[in-house]
């Protein structure tokens, strides 16, 4: 019997197929799904902020795009994934409130997405698909077995990327 493992805010989990991973109600945060397709080993990280180096208290590594992705990879490797085969999909980074304020924290969704992409590119991990931005929340479910990344939003049919 396969299990769906829940990943909280500023959290990350890894698993092996046929188990899956989910994170509920992603808003401006970004969910990063990653797997080794041959081994069926995958992980899901739920990051909140783009950059650990500009925050004083950065002890919670899962909270940031940069350190969160580093830790996601090391946990996948520890479970037996092959670094060279890793591939990713991402979702989230919405702007939940429409007003354009001068505060940069308002655009944090877009900055999160940008930071995640830059980090993946720097590590040469292919980004196969994304469903990011816009103004709605997303629940995601990731299946390392086939790499499907299911997305549910309020008032929309669910879809897979």
């Amino acid at each position: 019997m396969s299990e769906i493992i829940k990943v909280g805010m500023a959290d990350l989990k890894v698993c092996s197929a046929p188990d899956g991973l989910t994170t509920l109600g992603l808003g401006s945060c970004v969910g990063i799904a990653m797997r080794d397709p041959v081994k069926g080993i995958g992980g899901l990280a739920h990051i909140m902020l783009p950059d650990s180096t500009i925050i004083k208290d950065n002890s919670n590594r899962f909270k940031f795009a940069d350190t969160g992705i580093d830790d996601l990879i090391s946990q996948l490797l520890a479970l037996g994934a092959n670094r060279a085969r890793l591939e990713s999909k991402i979702a989230g980074g919405a702007q939940m409130f429409a007003f354009t304020a001068k505060s940069s924290s308002i655009q944090v969704g877009a900055r999160n997405v940008e930071a995640v992409k830059a980090k993946l590119a720097a590590l040469r991990i292919p980004l196969l698909a994304e469903d990011t931005g816009q103004n709605f929340g997303r629940t995601v479910v990731y299946y390392p077995e086939n790499g499907s990344f299911l997305i549910r939003a309020v008032g929309k049919d669910s879809y897979t990327i």
Partner: protein, 206 residues
């Protein structure tokens, strides 16, 4: 003293509780006037929660909520959010519109209902900010409110990220309005670092 939410003082809790009490009291009065009927409230609870716990207190991360969010400027800067479950938002809106609305208790809100909901949020957060301003003698100007109806987790990500820049916990004030049925409202006040100092200072606590 900088704001360290991981070691927040009992004093700050008490201050917030008091602000929450008076603010919610004023909000209840304003709400009763607007709805044209009696509304009671219970003593608010102030909670300091891990990010992971925040969604569950509102009925799960996927619970559909109406979130009204506005920025605060003046002597203190930051943001304030007021949240209601979708059904509670419908109850308030239906009462405010006095039968002119759809009367729905679930599903989406039409244009008129959205604007009524924004007004409710405006009045409630306004009453809350007024109390804070009166207690501290600080000038506080709220921005135009913005509204989002979505999953609790997604709406809460906005203040959570603001708290996330200084720690791993979030402060929440839970108020229960009692009408024919109990309605939970949640306030989240995010003062920036200097504003926290100013609030404590003006109250003679720093």
């Amino acid at each position: 003293m900088a704001l360290d939410l991981n070691n927040v003082s009992q004093q700050y809790f008490d201050v917030l509780k008091e602000i929450g009490n008076i603010g919610a009291g004023n909000a209840t009065t304003a709400l009763a006037q607007m709805l044209g009927q009696k509304v009671d409230m219970k003593v608010p609870q102030v909670k300091l929660l891990d990010f992971k716990e925040v969604g569950s207190i509102m009925g799960g991360e996927e619970q559909i909520m109406a979130g009204i969010y506005l920025l605060v400027e003046g002597d203190i800067t930051g943001s304030i959010m007021f949240l209601l479950q979708e059904e509670a938002a419908h109850i308030f809106v239906n009462q405010m519109m006095g039968g002119m609305g759809s009367g729905n208790l679930e599903g989406g809100f039409d244009e008129m209902e959205l604007s009524a909901l924004k007004e409710i949020g405006n009045i409630i957060t306004g009453a809350y900010l007024n109390s804070l301003s009166m207690l501290t003698n600080l000038k506080i100007y709220p921005s135009v409110p913005d509204l989002s109806i979505d999953m609790a987790g997604a709406i809460l990500s906005v203040p959570a990220i603001e708290f996330g820049e200084v720690g791993d916990k979030m402060l929440l004030i839970q108020t229960q309005f009692t009408d024919e049925k109990e309605i939970d409202g949640f306030f989240i006040l995010v003062p920036d670092l200097e504003s926290y100092d100013k609030i404590m200072h003006s109250l003679g606590l720093a």
